[in-house]
C-alpha cells in the first residue's frame, strides 16, 4: 500500500483517471464496479497559509491539503474505484479518514488500528470503491485536535450515476477557528477545562475557507446545498431567513424529504446535510443564514445574496426531491443483537468532574468514558473491543448520554438508521454515521454489521474523543 508518487507520475495518473471516467460512462453500473483502472488522485498534507478573514488581516498559518482551505473538493462517482495517494509533509505523523464511506477496514485511516501512521515525508495510498452516493468528507485521524483544528479537512462528494435535477450543486464546508487578533490560530489545543466542557469552540466561522459576507444566488433557481460541519467542536443550528430548505439526505444517506423542525437545522461536528433550496426570494435582496445554537451567541454565517436578474422560472420546480437510495442493508430489528453505550463524564455530570477526583488536575487524564472505559488520544493499540458482532448480524445500539453535554457520536465503516430519541421514533427514515445525542438523551440506532474489521466509535467533539469518549467495535 505504501508508495511515493513523484510529480512526474502525477500528470499521467490524472490522465489515466480521466480516461477511466470517460470509459465508465459507457458501461452499465455493474461493469463500473469492476472497472480495472481506478481514478488516481494525489493529496499532500502540509503547512500553508490561507486568507481566512481577508483584508486587512494577514494570512493565517494553517495545515492543509493541496495548499488550500478547505482541502480540494474530491468528486468521485458511485461505484468508481479510486486510488488516493496521500503524502505527509507535516512535521508529525498523520492519516486520512474518509468519513462516512463504507470502505475496507484497512483504508479507514485510524493509526495503529487500521494502518501504521504516515510518517513525515512518507506516503500512503488509499484504495476503495465508494458504494454510496452522497456528501462525505475527509480529515486526519491522528493528533486530531491539532490537525483538524489547524485546517486539515475537505469535502468528498460521491455523485449519483444519474445527476439530480437541480440548477446548481453547491458545497459549503463550514469550519470554526479560534483566531487571535493577528488572525493566527490560538495555541492551547487540548485544554483540560475545555475538554470536560464543550470542547474547543472557536471565534471565527468560515464558509469554504473564508469569512463569508454573502453567497450569490439567483431568484427561481433550485440549489442542492451540501453542508459539511468540519469544526472541532462547534455545533450549529442554522436558519435560512425567508427560505424553506428541504432536507434530502443526512450524512450522505438519502432520507424522506422534509423541513427541519422549526426551520432550524442542527449540524454538529462531522455531520453533513444535503438541502434542496428553492430560491424564492426577491431579486436584489439579501437573506441571512443565522446560527443561533449557543445561547446569546447568535451570529450570521453568511447571506444569500440575490442578483438583480429576473427569476429563472416563474414557479418552483416540481421535479422529484427524493434522492435515489444507496445500497445500505436494512437492519432486522427482530433478530438484532442489542447493546447499550453509556456516555459518561465531563463537568456538571453529578457533582464534580468524572475521573479528576472531583476537582484538581486539569491535566491529561480522561474526562469522559464509554461504559466506564476511557480510550484517549489517537486510541490504544491492543485494547479489546467493547464487543464483537458476527458479520452480517443486525445490531441495535442504545446510546445513553448521562452527561450534561452534547455528543455527536460517529461510527466508522457503517451507516446506521436513527431509530428513536428517548423512545420517540425518529421520522423521515434518517440514516447517519454521526448522530447528535443531547444531554441526558437516549438515542437508538441500528445497522447491519456487514463490514469486517475493528471500527472506532467516538464522539466527534474532538476534545471529547481525545479525552476518553471513544471505543472500538469488532465485526468478525
Amino acid at each position: 500500500m505504501h508508495s511515493s508518487l513523484g510529480p512526474a507520475i502525477n500528470r499521467r495518473a490524472l490522465l489515466v483517471g480521466g480516461t477511466a471516467v470517460a470509459a465508465s460512462a459507457l458501461f452499465p453500473r455493474i461493469a463500473r464496479a469492476t472497472a480495472a483502472v481506478p481514478k488516481a488522485i494525489e493529496l499532500t498534507a502540509a503547512p500553508g497559509r490561507a486568507s481566512l478573514v481577508g483584508s486587512p488581516y494577514p494570512r493565517t498559518n494553517v495545515w492543509c491539503y493541496g495548499d488550500r482551505i478547505p482541502g480540494p473538493e474530491i468528486r468521485l462517482r458511485q461505484d468508481e474505484p479510486v486510488r488516493l495517494a496521500v503524502r505527509n509533509n507535516l512535521p508529525e505523523d498523520t492519516t486520512v479518514h474518509w468519513h462516512g464511506i463504507r470502505l475496507p477496514n484497512a483504508m479507514d485511516g485510524v493509526p495503529g488500528l487500521t494502518q501504521p501512521p504516515i510518517k513525515p515525508g512518507e506516503s500512503f495510498t488509499y484504495e476503495f470503491t465508494p458504494p454510496d452516493a452522497g456528501t462525505f468528507w475527509y480529515h486526519p485521524h491522528a493528533d486530531s485536535l491539532q490537525q483538524l483544528g489547524r485546517g486539515l479537512a475537505g469535502a468528498l462528494i460521491i455523485e449519483e450515476p444519474e445527476p439530480v435535477p437541480v440548477d446548481r450543486d453547491v458545497v459549503w464546508v463550514l469550519s470554526d477557528w479560534r483566531l487571535r487578533s493577528d488572525a493566527q490560530i490560538a495555541p492551547g489545543f487540548g485544554s483540560g477545562m475545555e475538554a470536560a466542557m464543550s470542547g474547543r469552540v472557536g471565534n471565527t466561522v468560515t464558509v469554504n475557507g473564508g469569512v463569508s459576507e454573502e453567497e450569490p444566488v439567483r431568484a427561481g433557481e433550485r440549489i442542492r446545498l451540501r453542508l459539511v460541519n468540519a469544526s472541532l467542536a462547534r455545533i450549529m443550528a442554522l436558519r435560512f431567513e425567508g427560505h424553506r430548505p428541504i432536507v434530502v439526505a443526512t450524512d450522505g444517506q438519502p432520507c424522506d424529504p422534509h423541513e427541519p423542525d422549526n426551520g432550524r437545522l442542527l449540524l454538529a461536528p462531522a455531520m453533513r446535510v444535503d438541502l434542496i433550496l428553492d430560491m424564492q426570494g426577491e431579486p436584489g435582496r439579501r437573506y441571512r443564514v443565522v446560527d443561533d445554537f449557543y445561547d446569546e451567541l447568535s451570529y450570521w454565517l453568511t447571506q444569500l445574496a440575490y442578483n438583480d436578474e429576473p427569476p429563472l422560472r416563474a414557479h418552483p420546480l416540481d421535479g422529484p426531491l427524493r434522492l435515489p437510495r444507496n445500497p445500505v442493508p436494512e437492519p432486522d430489528l427482530t433478530t438484532a443483537e442489542r447493546h447499550e453505550l453509556r456516555l459518561q463524564g465531563g463537568m456538571m455530570s453529578g457533582g464534580g468532574m468524572m475521573g479528576r477526583g472531583g476537582m484538581m488536575g486539569m491535566g491529561s487524564e480522561a474526562s469522559w468514558a464509554i461504559n466506564g472505559h476511557s480510550m484517549t488520544g489517537d486510541g490504544h493499540v491492543g485494547v479489546p473491543p467493547l464487543f464483537t458482532l458476527r458479520r452480517g448480524r443486525s445490531c441495535v445500539l442504545s446510546m445513553r448520554n448521562e452527561t450534561a453535554w452534547w455528543h455527536p457520536m460517529h461510527l466508522h465503516g457503517h451507516s446506521f438508521r436513527v431509530l428513536s430519541r428517548n423512545g420517540a421514533a425518529v421520522p423521515h427514515r434518517q440514516w447517519a454515521d454521526t448522530v447528535l445525542v443531547r444531554p441526558k438523551q437516549t438515542v437508538k440506532i441500528a445497522f447491519v454489521a456487514d463490514n469486517p474489521g475493528d471500527w472506532m466509535l467516538h464522539c466527534h467533539v474532538t476534545d471529547h474523543q481525545a479525552s476518553g469518549m471513544m471505543t472500538m467495535l469488532r465485526v468478525a
Binding site: 477545562m193 466542557m197 451570529y299 464534580g352 486539569m362
Partner: protein, 147 residues
Amino acid sequence: MNRRTFCLGTALTTLVLPLPVFAEPIKATLYKNPQCSCCEGYAAYLRQNGFDVEVKPTNDLAEISQNAGVPAKYQGCHTMFVGGYVVDGHVPADVVRKLLSERPQIAGITLPGMPTGSPGMTGPKTQKFVIYVVTKEGKAPTIYASV
C-alpha cells in the same frame, strides 16, 4: 466591517473597574461557557452576597482566562473580573472580599476545577478549597487561601 473582526469573540475590554467605596453592590463581570449552568449558580450566590454580577456567555473562555494570567492547569470553569482582579472558578465570596480589601499586587486568584460543595456547585464539601494566586508575571501559583 466589524463582522470580519472576529464577530464571534467577546470584545476583550480591559476590565479595570474602580472598587466601590461605599456599601454598594460590588460590580463584577463573569464570563462563562454558554452551556454551563453551574456558573449561573455561582453568579446567583454572589448576588446574594452583595455583588452585582453581569454574566456574559462566551466560547472564548480559555483565551480570556489565559490572557488574564490563569495557567491552563489552574483554570476554573468560568472567569470573573472584579475590582481590577481576575477571579477564576467557584471562589467563595469571603475570599473575594478578602482580596478586594487587601488589594495585593497580584493578577487575581483561582479555584481550579469545579469542587463539589463549592458555591454554585451541588454536592457536599469533601475537602478544603485551595485557592491559588494568579500572578502577573506567570510565576508558579502559590496558595492564597485554603477554606
